[in-house]
Amino acid sequence: MIGFDAILMSFAAALHYESIAIILGGVLLGYIVGVIPGLNRAVAIAIAIPLTFYMSAYAAIAFLIGLSKGTAAGSAVSAILLNTPGEPSSAATCLDGYPMARSGRPRKALKVGLLASVIGDLLSTLLLIAVVIPFASVALKFGPYELAAILIFALVFIAGMAGGSFLKGLAAGGMGVILGTVGLDPETGAARLTFGYAELMEGVPILPLVIGTLALAEMFVQLDEYRRNKGASVIKLSKDKEDDLSYQEFKGTLPTIFKSTGIGAFVGALPGLGPSVGAFMAYGLAKRSAKDPDSFGKGNPNGIAAAEASDNAVIPASYIPLFGLGIPGSVSAALLVGAFMIHGIQVGPLMLRDHPEMLFTLFSGMIVASMLMLAVGWYGLRIFAKVTSVPPHIVIPVVIFLCLAGIQVQGYGTFGLVTVFAFALFGYFLKKFDYSFVTFLVAFIVTPMLEMNLRQSVILSGGDIAILLDRPIALAFVVFTVLMALHLGWSSYRQWLRKRLKAPSS
C-alpha cells in the first residue's frame, strides 16, 4: 500500500537543505532549553507554537519534534555538570553523572550521556514507524464507538498512572473535562459556559491555556525557587587527554543502552507514565542486574547510559498512540495535537491513510533529528557546558516576554492576555498542590473528541447499549476501564486504610 518510492521520496524531502535547517533549528533550540535548568520541554513547545505559524505544516511539526527531542538530550548536560536536571526526567542522570564529572571525567560522562540519548532515541523512532504503519489498514475499524471507549480508558489510565493520588488525578482530569466542554454544544449549538464572550464560543482557546498553565506558571514556580537556592557550582571541562571516551568503554555500555531503550519505549507507549518513570525504571533495572551494583551512584557510566537511553526512548514511543489513534499520551504529545490543529491537520489514523507522505516525511524528519542531535551534542559540548551557567534572572524575564508575545501573535488581543494570566495562576496552584498536570492537559484536549464520539455513538445506535456486542474492540475497552477504575480505587483505598491503621500506633 505504501510504496518504496514514497518512502524514498519522503527521505529526499527530509534531507532537503531547508528541512535540515528547520530541524537543526529545532534541535539546537531544544538542546539549549534542555541545558538551561528550569526551562523545560513543555515550556519550550508552548512558546514555540506561535513561532511556527509562518512555516508550512510539515516544517512546523518537524521543528517541534526536533525541539522536543533536543530537550531530552540537552538536559543531561546540566544534570552532569550542575547536578541539576535540565528536565525532571534527567534526575536519574544526576545520580551517576555528577559524581563522574566531579571525579575529573566530565567529558566522558557527557559523551556517554549523548551517545545513549541518540541511540535510545533512534531505536525508539524506528519502533514507532514499525508499529504505526500497520495501523493504517485497520484505522477505519475504529469508529465513534471504539474511539469513545478508548478515550475514556486513556483518561482513567492517565489519572491513575500519572503519579500522586488517584483521587487528585481524577480531580485534575475533571477540571480538564469541564474546561473542555466550554463553547457551543456540538449538537444544538447552545452556548455553554461562555459568559457571553464570543471568543469562547469555539471553546477555551488552546494556546493561551497552554502558555498560561505550562510556561508562565512554570516561570512563577521558578521565581519562587530562585529566591531559595542561588549559586550552584558548575564543573568546567578540562583539556585533559585522559578525560575522553574510548571505544572500549563505549562498547561496555551498549548492552545497558539497548535494555534501557526497550524499557523506555514500553513506558512511552503507555499513555501518561512519562520519561521520568522510564528513566528511573531503567536505572533501577541496570543497577539490579549489574555485577557491581555498589559502583552505581558513584560515577558508573552504565548508570548514565541507562537513564539517558530510556529518557530519550520514551519520547518517540509516546507518539505511537498519537499517530495510531489520535490520542495524546504525554504533555508534549498533547501540545503537538494542538499544533497540528492550528495547522489544519487532524492527527489520527486517517492521517496515515490519506496523507501518508506527510507522515513519512515526518518520520524521516525524526530520524534526521536524531542524527543532528548527535552532531550538535558532539561538537557543541564545550559551548553547551557554558550555557549551564546562564542565570535565572535573565532566563525568566525573557521567557515571560516570549509567552506574552506569542499570544499577541495569535491575535487574541486583550482577551488572550487576560486568559493567559488566569491560567498562569491556575497552573501555579496546580503545581503547588501537586495535581497531575498531564491528566489535566490531556483531559482538556481529549474532551471535545470524547464528547463528539460519545454523542455520535448514542445517536447512531439509537441509544441501544447492545451495540457494544457488535463492536468487540469498544466492548473490550469498556471492560478494561471498569477493571482499571476498580483496581485503582481499591489500591488507593487500601493505602488510605494502612495510613489510618498506622496513625494510632505511632
Binding site: D185, E187, G189, M201, E202, D354, I459, L460
Partner: protein, 322 residues
Amino acid sequence: MKMKLLGTAILSSAVAFGMAGMAQADEFPTKPLTMVVGFGAGGSTDIQARVLANVLEEELGQPVNVVNQPGAGGGVALARLANNRDEGYTFVFGTSMTITFGPLSSETDYELDDFRYVSGVTLGQSAIVTGEDRPFGDSWEELVEYARENPGVSYATQTALDRMIIEYIARQEGLELRIVPTSGGAGMAPLILSGDVDFGYSGGTHSGYADTGEMPVLMSLAEDRLVAFPDAPTLQEAGYDINAAEIRVVMVPKDVPDAHVERLAEALEAATQDERFIEITEERILMPVTYIPEDEVTQTLRDQVEGYKALIEELGGLPDEE
C-alpha cells in the same frame, strides 16, 4: 533643554501634518492595510488569504498584513470589524455563511447591513456526500426513497445551516433521520468512509476524493453543479427552493468612503485574474475563482438571509430554541 523640546515638538507636528496632507490627497491607500481572517492560521481560508494579500500588495502598492482573529466561526472578526473606523484600511476576508446565517443562528453584535461587501472572489463547493457501496448508490433520488423505507438513516452535520437544510428536506420528504454532529471535514470523513454514517454534509473535503471516487456527491449545495462532480443535481434542481451557496467575500464597515471601496474592488478584480491566486484556490483548495461585484454579491447575500428567515419560520424556530 527647552530648545531641544521645542525642536522636537515642531518636528513631530510637522511630521503629523505631512501625514495628514498625504492622506487628504486621497491616493488611497497611503499606509499599510490589514486583512483580517476570522479563522486560525493554516485553515483553507487562511492559506487563500495569505496569497490574496500578496497579490493585493502589488496591486495597491502598500503592504497588506494578514491577521488572524479566530472564534465563533469567523464571528469574532466581524464583531470587531463592525466597530472599526479606519476607512477601509482594515477589511475582513471571510465566508458568506458567517454574515448570512450567523446572526440568525446565534446572538451576534453585527448584522448584514453593518458592512459593505466589496466583492466576492471565490465560490464555495459545499455538497451532500456519501460513501462507496451504499444501498442507494450515489443518486439523491434513490437515497430519499431508501430513507423513506428505512427510518433511522444517519446524516453527519457540521454547521447549523446544513442542519437546518436537512431538517427542512426531511420534513418535505417525510424522512426520519438520525442527525449526527461532527467537527469539520476531518471529523466527517472517517464516518462516511467507514460506512458508520450513511450520508453527510461536506464543505470541501469531497473535492480531495474526486479522483478516487471514495466520496461521491449526492447533491450540490452551490448555486451551480460542482466542477468536479457534474452529475449531482443542485438543491434547486432536486426540488428544494433554497439558496445556500457559500461565497468568499471581502467586507468593510458600512461607512467606508466610496472611493476607497472602489479602489479595493479594482484591486480584487485584478487579483481574481492573477495566476498565483487562481492556482492556490483552484488547485489546492479546489474552489472556482470568480469576481462578483458589490451590487450583485450584496443582493445575493440579502436574498439568502430572506430565504433562511423564511425557512426558520417554516421549521418553527431553530433546533436549539425548541
